[in-house]
Symmetry: C3
Subunit: 309 residues, 3 copies
C-alpha cells in the first residue's frame, strides 16, 4: 500500500498478493456483517473524506459515498461546477486548499491518466489518496471488486480460465484487473477483441490475445465484458454497434461455448445490444448487479485501510 510517501490506493501495482488477500477478507467480513463492526466504525468515524469526481459516475461515486457514510465518516461531495475550478483554479491549488481543511482522504475520478498520482505527490503525507479511475491508466478499486466477485464464486483460482472482452486499449479497468488477477494466481487470462482496440503488445502482460470471441471464450469460467464507448465508433476504431455486436456481443448461444459454471461480469454501465445481449445481462450467470453490491463492502475495506493502514 505504500506508494512513495502516502498510504495510498493509486494502482494495484503497489499491492502484493498478501495485501490483496487481506482487503478481500476484510471486505468479506464487512459484507456479511449486519451493522459493521464497532472497531471499524470507531477508526473511521468523523474522518473527513472528499469525493472528487471530475467525470460522471453512478456506481463508483455512489458506492464510495455509501461506504464512507456506513463508516460514519464525514463525506464532502465536492461539486466541480460550483467550485473555483470554474474560475480557473488549478487542480493542484484546489487540492492544496482542501488539504488545508484537514482532509483525511481524497477519492478521485479524473479523465487524465496520472491525476491520482499527481495529487498524491502534492498532498500532505497524512492524507490518503484513493484512485477511483484516472483516464485509461487504472481503476484499482473496481479491480478489487471484481477480484472479490470471482473469489466469492470460485475457490481454486489456479485452474480458472478468465476472458476479458472489448476495448482493452482504452480501459483503465482491464489494466488493473490483469494485474490483480495474475497476483491472485489466475494463470489463464485471455484478452479478446479486434486489433484497433487490443494491440498485440498486450501479450507482454502474460496473457493470451484472441481475435475471435468464439475461440477465446471456449471453456472459460469467467467472462468480463467491457463497455464500448460511443466515441470508438465515431473515431472509426470500431465498425457500427450492430457489426460489433455480431462479432463480439455476448449472447446466450455464445455462453454455451463457455464452461457450465461460467459467470458474466461487467464494470457498468452496460450497453445492452452492443457488448452484451439483454438475455445474458439479466441471466442467472450474470454477476453484474452483485458486483455493485460487493462494491460497497470492498470500498469500505479500502477506505478503512487507507485511513488506518
Amino acid at each position: 500500500m505504500i506508494n512513495n510517501k502516502n498510504i495510498n490506493f493509486i494502482s494495484t501495482e503497489f499491492l502484493n498478493k498478501r495485501e490483496i488477500k487481506s482487503i478481500l477478507e476484510s471486505a468479506n467480513e464487512i459484507f456479511h456483517s449486519k451493522n459493521y463492526s464497532h472497531s471499524l466504525i470507531k477508526n473511521c468515524k468523523d474522518k473527513l473524506i472528499f469525493n472528487l469526481f471530475f467525470e460522471p459516475s453512478t456506481r463508483t461515486r455512489t458506492t464510495f459515498e455509501i461506504a464512507a457514510s456506513n463508516l460514519k465518516a464525514k463525506v464532502v461531495n465536492f461539486n466541480i461546477e460550483n467550485s473555483s475550478q470554474s474560475k480557473g483554479e488549478s487542480l493542484i491549488d484546489t487540492i492544496a486548499n482542501l488539504s488545508a481543511m484537514r482532509a483525511d482522504c481524497f477519492i478521485i475520478r479524473h479523465k487524465m491518466s496520472g491525476a491520482a498520482n499527481l495529487i498524491a505527490n502534492y498532498a500532505p503525507n497524512n492524507i490518503g489518496i484513493i484512485n477511483a479511475g484516472d483516464g485509461s491508466h487504472a481503476h484499482p478499486t473496481q479491480a478489487l471488486v471484481d477480484a472479490f466477485t470471482v473469489s466469492k464464486k470460485f475457490k481454486n483460482l489456479n485452474k480458472l480460465k478468465l476472458a476479458i472482452v472489448g476495448d482493452i486499449l482504452h480501459s483503465r479497468v482491464a489494466r488493473s484487473q490483469i494485474d490483480t488477477f495474475k497476483k491472485m494466481g489466475i494463470r489463464d487470462i485471455r484478452l479478446i477483441g479486434p486489433e484497433t482496440i487490443l494491440p498485440t503488445e498486450f501479450e507482454k502482460f502474460g496473457v493470451s490475445i484472441h481475435r475471435s470471441l468464439d475461440n477465446g471464450i471456449k471453456d472459460v469460467n469467467v467472462i468480463i465484458c467491457l463497455r464500448i464507448q460511443n466515441e470508438r465508433m465515431s473515431s472509426m476504431l470500431l465498425p457500427s454497434k450492430k457489426e460489433y455486436f455480431a462479432l463480439y456481443g455476448l449472447t446466450q448461444n455464445r455462453i454455451k461455448i463457455c464452461s457450465n459454471d461460467v459467470i458474466v461480469m461487467h464494470p457498468g454501465p452496460i450497453n445492452r445490444g452492443v457488448e452484451i445481449d439483454t438475455a445474458v445481462a439479466d441471466s442467472t450467470s450474470s454477476m453484474i448487479l452483485s458486483q455493485v453490491s460487493f462494491g460497497v463492502a470492498v470500498r469500505m475495506a479500502i477506505i478503512n485501510k487507507v485511513l488506518n493502514g
Copy 2:
C-alpha cells in the same frame, strides 16, 4: 399501501380512508413533538434513502431531505447530471444498480407519468418507492400535505366547500387531491377554470365544474390555487398572464365572495400576479407557507410508513 408487490406510495388511489387518517395522525404527532419520538428514529435510523429528482424542485426535494435526515436515515441525493444517465444508461438499469447498493427507499420525481410505477415494478420487493410527482399523473405526498393542512384548520369535513382553481388538466397535484379529499369525506369539491385546461370530463370524478371563478368560489372554505406554467401561455391553451389574472386570479375582492373562514392554499412555487395576487398570498388566510412546514412532518410519517409498514 400495498401496491402489487412493494410497500409503496405511488398514488393515493392505493390508500383507503383509514390509512390516510393514520398517516395524518402520525404526522400530527411528529409535527408537535420537539425531537421526534425515539421509536420513530429507531425504526428509520441508518436506512438508505435515495432522493432521485429528475426535475427541478425546491419544496418537495428539500422537505424530503430534511424529513429523512430528521429520521436519522442516510440520504443520497442522486445527481442526475453527474451520473451515468449522462452516458445513456436507462432509468431501469440505474434503478437496478442503486437497488444493488442495498437501498431501502427511492423517492422519485420524474417528468414522465408512470415513472414511479415503472420503477416499483422493477425494483426488488424490499425497497419502498415514494412518488414525489410523476408527469401529470400523481403527487400523492403533496395531496397528503394538503389534506393535513385542511384537517388542521377544519374539524367537520363533511360540510366543507372546497375549490381547486387553475390548470387541472396538467396537474398531478389536482388528481391526487380530488381522490384524497373525497376519501376524507369532503362532498362539495369544485373545479374552476377555462375548458382548455379543465375539460368537462372531470365531472366523472364526482366534482362540479365551474367556468366562472366568482360563481365557483361562492361560500367556499378552502381555495387551492394551482400554478400556471409559462408553457401554457405559449402553447395557446391560455391567453396572456394579464388576461388569466383578470379572469382567474385570486384577489382580496374575490376572497370576500368566499366563506369568512376561508383558507387559501397553493402547492408552490406561486406566480404572483398570475394565479394569485400578492396581497392574498401574504394575507392571514394564506396557508401557503404552513403547507411547507407541515410538509416535513407529513413526509416523515410517509417515509416511516414505507420503511416500516
Copy 3:
C-alpha cells in the same frame, strides 16, 4: 451582532471590538481542540443550516459545510440549478419557503450587494443569517479569518504595518478587512493599486493610498494580495496580466522591501503570475493555506455565535 432584528452576521460594521475579540478567542479554542468541546456541539447539534451559494465557491462553501458538520448540525446544500429558482421563483419566496421548513440558519453567497441584508429583512426573527459574500459589499467571515490569521502571528497589533494590494474597488473582502483591522487597533493600513481599481475616496476610511507597490510595502508586516478578476482586463480597467504583474505582482525581490517578519495573505483563489508570484505564494512567509485551515475554526465560532448568541 444585533442587526435590526435577527442575530445575524451580515457585515463587520455591526460588530464592536469586544465581539470580534470574543469570536477570535472562541475560534482559537476550537482550532486547538481535538474533537471540539462537548458544550459547543450540544448547542448546535441537529440545527438546520442551509448553505445557499448563488455563486461558485471552493473555500468558503466547503469550510462552512465542514464547520457545520463538525458542530453536528444538519446541513442542506441548496442546489440552485435544480431548484424552483430555475422556474422563476423569486429569492424572497425561496427564502420564505426554506424558512417554513424550520431553518435555523442561512449561509448566503450572492453576486448582488445587499442580498444577505435583504434576506435578513424578510426571514423570521429566529433564523440567523450569515453573509458569505455579497457582491462587492462585504465578506465578514473572510475578514474574521484574516483577523485571526494576523493575530495568530502578531501579538502587538498597534504597531503593525499592513498593506492590501489590488482591486480594492470591487472587493467585498477589502471593505470588511479595513473595518475589522481598524477595530482591532491596526493604525497603519495602506491600500495599494492603480486609480482605476483604487479611487482616492478610499482615504475616508482612515487608510493611506499608494500607487507604487514598492513604496507602499516598505517595512510592512502584513501584505494581503487580492484576486485580479479576468473581467477587469477585458473591461479596460487594467492593462494586460503581464503589465499588472510587472507593476503590482508580489515577487521575492519585493518581499525584501518589507519587514523581515512579513506574512503574505490572500483570500483565494490565487492567480499565480498575476497578483502573486508562485515563489512567494509557496514560500514560508505565505499564510495562504493557513488562512484556509483557520477558516474552518473561525466559521465554527461564527455559526455557534449566530445560533446561540
